[in-house]
Amino acid sequence: MQFPSKKSKAVTDIKAELYSQPLQFYGQPPLENISLSEFESFAVDRLKLLKTVENLGVSYVKLNEDYSKKLDNEIRTLNFPHGAGDAKEQTEKRRKDHISHFILRLAYCQTEDLRRWFIQQEVDLFKYRFKELKCGEKLEFLHKNNLQYNTISAEEKDNLREKLAISSYIASGVKVEEQDFYKVPFQDALDLVRTRKVYLKEGYVYIPHNEIVTIVLNDFRTRLSKALALTARSLPAVHSDERLQPLLNHLSHSYLGQDYSVQKNVGKISLEQIDSLAGKSFPLCMRQLHQALRDQHHLRHGGRMQYGLFLKGIGLSLEQALQFWRMEFIRGKVDADKFDKAYAYSIRHMFGKEGKRADYTPYSCMKVILSNPPSQGDYHGCPFRHSDPELLKQKLQSYKVSPSGVSQILELVKGMHYQLACQKYFELTHNVEDTAFSLSHPNQYFTESQKVLGGGKDVKRETDILQRPQENSATRGLTAAREPAVDESQHLAEITKNLETDFQDA
């Protein structure tokens, strides 16, 4: 076998080979040298892309027309790989895709929350890009990545025909006889199992050919999850590089924007104020929890976590929190002794004073909407997402929201724009035309509310770095953030200016 004589040719060949595929599993990390400026700009661009994925995912049904159009737009603008373009352009973009993914792994592997967020957005992005592949490209992807599953025999298909037809979402017109069905262990098809979109028998799911994408996604998710856990272990070595540490910290912090983990107003709120604050400045979810707590003198675990952390975020100290919960629980069925033994522990835990001493951050809207849905006896969650529209309507009416306001909110809820619905609620209860912020966190709601009620004084510029600019009430669509982002890269460039070095090939 002949090796190319010139080294640079070999490198180009390897690159061409590596980037010959439009989509990859990110199994191998990039092995080249890059400049720090490329390092930053790639990472920031990908972060912008993932944030777009997140926002679109909450505001639109995933993969529908609007979603796809907007995402495609963002991908092109940020110079990531998409359908069109000549070979050389494509290679460049795929290289950027490859490298930026691995950089963000470094930034997002550190905590459970960051990992979960990163995996979710990367999976959604992958899902979109896989869907956009042409027939032949999909097939090639499966082959190249060793995803081989076994099909079932014609007679087995016959025996299970009715069940297969009912449980699988087969494209209309295509019959069971005409499709291949794969028999896959259920552990490899969790998304299909979870949503009951497939026939399950004795631990195996039976998947029609055109559903194989879900398996691919599951595989992607599992691999990424494992990889992140490994990355986290090698992180100390990376952090010892002073050029990279500030960059990576900045990246993971900007995802959360303001995460309200550092309390700026400890002790500024007194317990007596809480009842009135609940009516005036709490978002609906917290108002609901507060009401339930006052009525029942009790809240279950999910409710205690969501509300307790929120209170921490608005400035309650540990002592105040303990007093607050104790006073309320004692009015119910819990005696002082039991409270001190059972519940006090978990409140101290919330403040980072027990167990592994993690200082838990108050839940963002994303977290409240997407994780731990409420069940019987629970009052947590997002009312716009989790309440029956009828009950939500009654509740809003009882809070004296105008009928037109109520219907506007319900419209937004129907369209699954939960955070926009909450913003509308803010506007109606505070009598403002347009919120100057894009709601992503219950504590943000509180801070903004206090600002409005305080007449704009005591303004705390909580810089939300990659915040979306204000919405036009007519369009209510989402626009990509450009202006703040430019500041962002300049800012980062400044940090690293004196440290920038270009490596030469040896």
């Binding site: 869907k131 027939c135 032949g136 999909k138 097939l139 499966l142 082959h143 081989q148 076994n150 099909t151 025999s153 014609a154 009912i166 449980s167 494209a171 291949d180 028999k183 262990p185 259920f186 552990q187 969790l190 998304d191 199992v193 979870r194 949503t195 009951r196 026939y199 399950l200 028998k201 004795e202 631990g203 195996y204 050919h209 055109n210 998710r221 599992t222 999850s225 986290a232 272990r233 609901q288 339930a292 033994k341 059972a342 731990n372 849905p373 409420p374 069940s375 019987q376 006896g377 629970d378 009052y379 947590h380 969650g381 009312p383 989790h386 309440s387 029956d388 009828e390 009950l391 939500l392």
Partner: protein
């Protein structure tokens, strides 16, 4: 059957007796050891498959937690052998015992392990069905109370979930346990189940969940076309019990307020599956997903005592699930009392002991065995024995299969021609052949169109 008035204040006196003479340690250890062999390391025989490293210290790396007197709660308890476990439990006399995960290291040494390396690796897949989750659909009781009328809900839950876990998910070794007060637990002990990731557990729990929504949701079950076979099967099961439970015992249409509740579930537009949705909302099992999804979640142990009711968490015999009566479950006071009652054949047994030339330890063992057999606990331990026997067969069978696989693979190597119509699937050491018919081993599908 009277359960001999139980007084929580007596627990400190009853527990020592329970742990010394009644708790079935031998069976308990056999269960949690999962055929791991004796604790002393043994020589690996030549040609023997090297044991799964997790398997080697399965019992030793298991976390237990105890609730002691005065609500003192201790975690990360672990034991290196059955006798150490016995001694510790007899010393501490826990009010409540929880079982946690099998970790990467011995839990009682977790502080010495480098931070981040101490990981939960395996645990049974568990489910917790709690009667309070049904408060909105039962009128006879609420909160911690139960009665024979609402216990039917548990029977339905057991039937539906047991069937689904076996038929849909392919699990075989399920242990259903009465929680001691107001619910039931299920322990899925298959190896595949113990190895499931948190994401997989969560997926299983969600597959099995049909009733969704908190206080703010009135209509908790919504069915859309097409109806999944699992839902269809569950409906068949629910239909068997609905007339008795809802219409008769709960009388949901006979009393004004509950009738109104039912009507509230119907909406202006007549829904296609209205009746089915109602039946499911009233009867379908409600499980707590959070209990099932954590690999390290601690759950009350079988044969633990419930401090408030005194009842023992006993396994439920599925053959008689319809007849299971939670009020007939023995309490700790009952069985302790039964211990003291002299029995006719007691003297006979005693003379047997003195006849034989057993050493003292043996006779203590024998006495222990006889002890629980004299009490109402006996039949539950017997059922537990049957459950274990079923599993033991699978442990033995697995070793056999592992060696079968080694032989089969060797055979294939020897064959020059690649086998056209046979695939080997070696998942979890199980060898299976499937005839592919019109597919060949490494066939690439010609058409991939969405």
């Amino acid at each position: 059957m009277p359960s001999s008035d139980y007084d929580p204040a007596c627990l400190p006196d009853l527990l020592p007796l329970y742990y010394r003479r009644l708790f079935p340690f031998a069976q308990y250890y056999r269960w949690l050891n999962y055929g791991g062999g004796k604790c002393r390391g043994r020589e690996q025989k030549p040609g023997e498959e090297s044991r799964d490293p997790v398997q080697k210290n399965y019992f030793q790396n298991r976390e237990f937690s105890f609730t002691l007197k005065d609500d003192i709660y201790v975690r990360y308890q672990s034991f290196s052998s059955q006798s150490e476990m016995e001694k510790e439990m007899q010393k501490m006399n826990p009010y409540k015992i929880d079982i946690g995960a099998v970790y990467s290291h011995r839990p009682n040494q977790h502080n010495t392990v480098k931070s981040g390396s101490f990981q939960a690796l395996e645990k049974e897949l568990v489910f917790d069905i709690d009667m309070t989750d049904y408060d909105d659909v039962r009128s006879c009781c609420s909160a911690a109370d139960i009665c024979s009328k609402c216990w039917t809900l548990m029977t339905i839950a057991i039937r539906i979930l047991d069937k689904a876990l076996r038929q849909d998910f392919g699990f075989h070794h399920l242990l259903w346990v009465y929680s001691g007060r107001r619910g039931v637990h299920c322990w899925v002990c298959d190896e595949a189940a113990r190895k499931l990731s948190a994401a997989a557990r969560s997926a299983v729990a969600e597959y099995l969940s049909l009733v969704k929504g908190g206080e703010e949701t009135v209509k908790k079950v919504v069915l859309t076309d097409p109806i999944h076979p699992f839902i269809r099967d569950s409906l068949t099961e629910v239909k068997r019990y609905f007339p008795l439970y809802a219409l008769q015992d709960q009388n949901i249409l006979g009393r004004k307020e509950s009738e109104e509740k039912v009507l509230a579930l119907s909406t202006a537009k007549k829904r296609q599956y209205f009746e089915k949705e109602i039946m499911l909302q009233y009867c379908y099992p409600r499980l707590d997903v959070n209990v099932s999804k954590g690999v390290n979640h601690l759950l009350k142990s079988p044969f633990s005592v419930h401090p408030k009711t005194g009842r023992i968490s006993v396994p439920i015999d599925l053959k008689d699930v319809d007849k299971f009566d939670p009020f007939a479950v023995p309490t700790i006071s009952l069985i302790c009392e039964e211990l003291d009652r002299p029995k006719a054949d007691e003297d006979e047994a005693k003379s047997e002991v003195t006849k034989g030339k057993e050493n003292e330890q043996d006779s203590t063992e024998k006495r222990k065995i006889r002890d629980y057999k004299r009490t109402s606990l006996a039949k539950y331990v017997k059922y537990f024995d049957e459950f274990l026997a079923g599993m033991v067969d699978s442990w033995k069978g697995k070793l056999l299969q592992q060696s079968e696989v080694a032989v089969a693979l060797a055979d294939l190597d020897a064959e020059a021609v690649s086998p056209p119509d046979i695939t080997l699937s070696l998942r979890s050491g199980v060898l299976s052949h499937s005839h592919l018919g019109n597919s060949v081993l490494s066939r690439r599908s010609p058409q991939f169109c969405v």
